[in-house]
């Protein structure tokens, strides 16, 4: 039966990779849409294509090398990176949901990018501003996707699964993004970021422990327990901060 052969750790892995990649794809797509609508689609697509080629080359260069790193060392390094990265995401999501940090608004970001691109003026021949803007947006957000997939995938020995889930997330968000065009602000980004933060911290905790030869009770089963624990703690911190601090309502681009 599928239900018994798929471990709870794999379910959390799929969820973490999917949500993290979807969030990064929303951010990249906002930039590409702003570039395409303002300066023309040719440069937007060229910048996107070159960024994807560079990212593919990076994965081809570093992906196979990671497989040769001893698993305990890999898990310790990956665990440490995920612990830091996850705590950063969780902290930001907590501050945003308590109103202490302005929420990420894709519409506001879209408008800011359009204004920036219009102010840059147009040159003769190839549109370098549009190309660089699309390239940077896709490359930097894509790099986070690559790091998420490589770290989560290799540590769990599920690189193929992680890459497939990431591709599905990217394609799905891409299709939805093209259909709804400028309504990416409807994506519940902060809730997704909070979910990703909880899962990254959970994996970070688990693999840091594995790397340091901690014997977790129940092995992989400990991952959902860690997820539940961090969810509860996050909820408590949000409730505590909300009780103590006034809420701000401004939105940041």
């Amino acid at each position: 039966m599928i239900a018994t052969s798929v471990s709870s750790g794999v379910v959390v892995l799929v969820g973490a990779v999917f949500l993290a990649c979807a969030v990064e794809m929303v951010e990249a797509l906002t930039i590409v849409l702003a570039v395409g609508h303002t300066r023309g689609w040719r440069s937007a697509f060229e910048g996107t294509a070159v960024a994807l080629v560079v990212l593919t080359a990076l994965v081809a260069a570093f992906g196979p090398a990671l497989v040769h790193v001893p698993l305990s060392v890999l898990r310790l390094v990956v665990g440490g990176v995920l612990l830091i990265f996850g705590m950063q995401w969780l902290r930001k999501a907590i501050l945003r949901s308590t109103g202490l940090k302005a929420k990420h608004d894709e519409d506001a970001i879209y408008r800011a990018k359009v204004a920036e691109l219009q102010a840059a003026g147009s040159g003769v021949g190839r549109d370098h501003v549009a190309f660089v803007m699309a390239f940077k947006g896709v490359f930097l957000e894509g790099l986070e996707v690559v790091i998420t997939v490589l770290t989560l995938g290799t540590s769990a020995h599920r690189l193929g699964l992680a890459a497939t889930v990431a591709a599905i997330a990217v394609v799905l968000v891409g299709i939805v993004g093209v259909v709804v065009a400028k309504q990416l602000s409807n994506v519940p980004e902060n809730a997704m970021k909070m979910g990703v933060g909880v899962m990254l911290v959970s994996f970070g905790t688990f693999w840091t422990g594995e790397g340091l030869k901690v014997s977790w009770p129940g092995n992989d089963t400990m991952i959902p327990v860690l997820v539940a624990t961090y969810l509860l703690v996050t909820w408590l911190i949000v409730a505590l901060v909300r009780r103590e601090s006034p809420v701000v309502t401004e939105v940041v681009a």
Binding site: V81, R91, L100, V201, K213, S245
Partner: protein, 80 residues
């Protein structure tokens, strides 16, 4: 990035800047906390063979680090 630097220098600088922003950024306390957590758990698990203590301490220290970092941000927001 300074003009006139050679491509390899700019690439190395860009690579270092990316990882610095990625791991440290505006929350150096979380970076330091992760190093402290790894050190403490290494002592408990590898050196002291206190597995049960390490199982409890690892998530507990992460929660404490997160709490301290959020508290810092709350105080900074109040000062504004």
């Amino acid at each position: 990035m300074r003009r006139g630097s050679s491509l390899p220098v700019r690439l190395v600088r860009g690579f270092a800047t990316f990882w610095w922003d990625f791991l440290v950024g505006d929350t150096p306390e979380l970076f330091v906390a992760a190093l402290v957590i790894i050190g403490v758990i290494a002592l408990l698990s590898e050196a002291g063979h206190f597995n049960a203590a390490a199982v409890v301490a690892l998530p507990l220290l992460a929660v404490v680090a997160l709490g301290i970092s959020v508290r810092r941000a709350v105080r900074a927001a109040r000062r504004k």
